[in-house]
Subunit: 399 residues, 2 copies
């Protein structure tokens, strides 16, 4: 079974049975393929009697996007598995546990999180997650500080850069986030009702300058080992728990990119709130979302600088207070810029978010889309002059 | 002979003889080891009768620096060989031809350039090289543009980043250029007569901020495939020819680092001119050096932007004029900052330059050292606000 082929449910059960000491030898296991079939097979293997379960995730050698097939390296399964293990080391409890990785089958066996729900769905259903800012700020600070030149031996970091070179998956981001939305591209995907707003994105040279600078950072700035796709669909939550999943886009990039992914997806939800939550709860929910962004930044800033003070390994950086301020400010500015870029791609680009796409009323949906574009554009244009997280909040509130 | 061991002169001759079609089978070859023995063995193999010769360069598994032994990966021989071949592709005629690379022996067989002299020595002897700016600007523009995300397929570039991860050699630069000169370090090496100037380097927090920012760029900014050690001791010249050698420090870094290496070494020579050239020629020689810097930048800027216009592969970057200006300005600013850092390390750091160290008069030598520190410090502190190459020249002339 070691040559690569897409697994059947029976094969998945067999692999689960052979897993050392997880299921008892005589247990009866059921298998259900629960993936969306676009990029991966995901088998949910369960022992009903013992109430134990596990996930097998197998990479497929292609991505099915809008009917087309896009070849993708199976190496992304190695990257995902190795990144999950590193995240588990630096941020224990905030990612699924990895039990096994089989390189030949591009298969990762990991903790079942089916008692959690996808955060995007939770937010759309009007749930709030009061511990999320605390959890995600820990995840960001721990995984990004300890893989940066500030917190990791700089020679060891270079070997990690090498191991996480991820050309295929990075290209998806380079095209879909940092190129297509700003030109006529067959990858774009938006309704003709917002053509004027989409056209404005293509014709705004000041915007293009800032997007090109952000694109350059994505292409060249090997600052920390990113998750690379940290939207609210890659986060499982309960009231008390946060688990970050699916780091197959992991690579060494600008730290602000991961932070911006979280902010952007909270803001995309924000843009949709007026249209699905009952009127009496809207203001409260919007305040919750903005407060989550502000608290996430504040706690991230505190935790990252605390780690730096405790475990910083770079003598010059450690002993130069002005550099610490400069560094944290540049993380905020990058995060603001990437927030904007990630909002815009979800409106006019290939892949959308259900927060907005499921608004059934056309006019309200278009209004939400325009709002996301306006906020995104403003954040991108102003990112290099931002100095406080409150300025991001102000931009949201005034648009 | 395929297991690694340092070659004898007889073994070097044998390898040269076996080289396909270079020497005739019955030729009598002589071998002379001409390396400095610190990092590499360098065999000069010659057929006196046919007047043909060749160089065998073999990496040693350590660096001897000030009596100590510093272990170094033999992988640097692969990096040097592969980088030389790439440079030969992008900048033909400006590097020695590589005939053979033997990975097991960490051995590169290459063109003999003994009709050239080391540029540093030529400058100290008062020679000028009127074609140097033309040549080196071509070398810089061609090797850096075509390995950047602007001129190379971005997925292919990532594979090249991976292949040129160079932890050992980068660490030398990180320590000796971007750390030691700004702290009490046993690696530092300067005369007590300039202790006050060295102390000032250690206590200037504004300087430390800028050095830390430059250090971060060196550690994280994978912009182009650098030579990595482009001082005038790594350049062979004649009146009509320029050959860049010794790219064992090659890695993906900030483009301005290579440019700054050239500028810094011309300026170190500039600081020494008063003390070894006859008085009537000093002004002319200094003007030549400054003009070479200015012309090198001007031509580099012209050539790099011309390549961008002709062969730019990044749609967004190509179609955003404001980004082109931003990009070229940031190259200049980085170059100015790295120029300063490279000047300072050659005065108070471990490795010096003979331009200044061979000034026999103590007072004059110290004066030259102080001048280099002053210019270097000013360039570092002002790098992020520079907008024209003339500002660099003005800083030199006013210090």
């Amino acid at each position: 079974m070691s040559t690569y082929h897409p697994l059947t449910e029976q094969e998945a059960i067999q692999i689960a049975k052979e897993l050392d000491g997880f299921f008892s030898p005589n247990s009866t296991l059921t298998s259900k393929e629960i993936g969306d079939g676009n990029l991966n097979l995901v088998f949910h293997i369960k022992d009903e009697q013992a109430n134990k379960s596990i996930i097998l995730k197998q990479a497929l050698p292609y991505a099915k996007v809008v009917g087309e097939s896009w070849p993708l390296s199976l190496d992304r399964a190695r990257i995902e598995s190795e990144k999950l293990i590193l995240e588990g080391k630096y941020a224990p409890g905030l990612v699924p546990i990895v039990y096994k990785y089989d390189q030949d089958l591009a298969l990762t066996v990991m903790e079942d999180l089916s008692d959690h729900i996808i955060m995007r769905k939770g937010l759309i259903d009007g749930h709030t997650y009061p511990l999320f800012a605390e959890h995600i700020s820990t995840f960001l600070a721990q995984t990004l500080f300890y893989t940066s030149d500030l917190g990791m031996n700089q020679q060891e970091k270079k070997r990690l850069v090498k191991s996480f070179i991820n050309p295929d998956l990075c290209k998806i981001t380079e095209d879909l986030i940092f190129d297509d939305p700003y030109t006529l591209s067959s990858n774009n995907n938006y309704e003709s009702a917002i053509e004027d707003a989409a056209k404005a994105l293509r014709e705004d040279e000041l915007l293009h300058l800032e997007v090109a600078i952000l694109r350059e950072k994505f292409l060249t700035k090997a600052q920390g080992l990113l998750h690379g796709d940290l939207h609210t669909g890659s986060i499982f939550v309960t009231e008390n728990s946060t688990k970050v999943i699916d780091p197959e886009f992991a690579y060494y990039g600008p730290i602000g990119f991961d932070i911006g992914a979280v902010f952007a997806n909270l803001l995309l939800n924000y843009c949709s709130v007026d249209h699905w939550i009952t009127e009496d709860k809207r203001d409260e929910f919007k305040a919750y979302l903005l407060n989550t962004i502000k608290t996430t930044w504040t706690l991230f800033n505190e935790k990252f600088t605390a780690l730096w003070a405790k475990d910083g390994i770079d003598r010059l950086a450690n002993s130069t207070p002005a550099y610490k301020s400069h560094y944290m400010l540049s993380l905020l500015q990058d995060a603001v810029g990437f927030t904007g870029a990630k909002m815009i791609r979800r409106i006019v680009g290939l892949a959308h978010v259900s927060d907005i796409d499921t608004i059934s009323d056309d006019a309200l949906r278009h209004k939400a889309q325009r709002k996301a574009i306006t906020i995104g554009t403003t954040l991108i244009k102003q990112n290099r002059s931002i100095s406080l997280i409150e300025e991001l909040i102000d931009i949201v509130l005034s648009n």
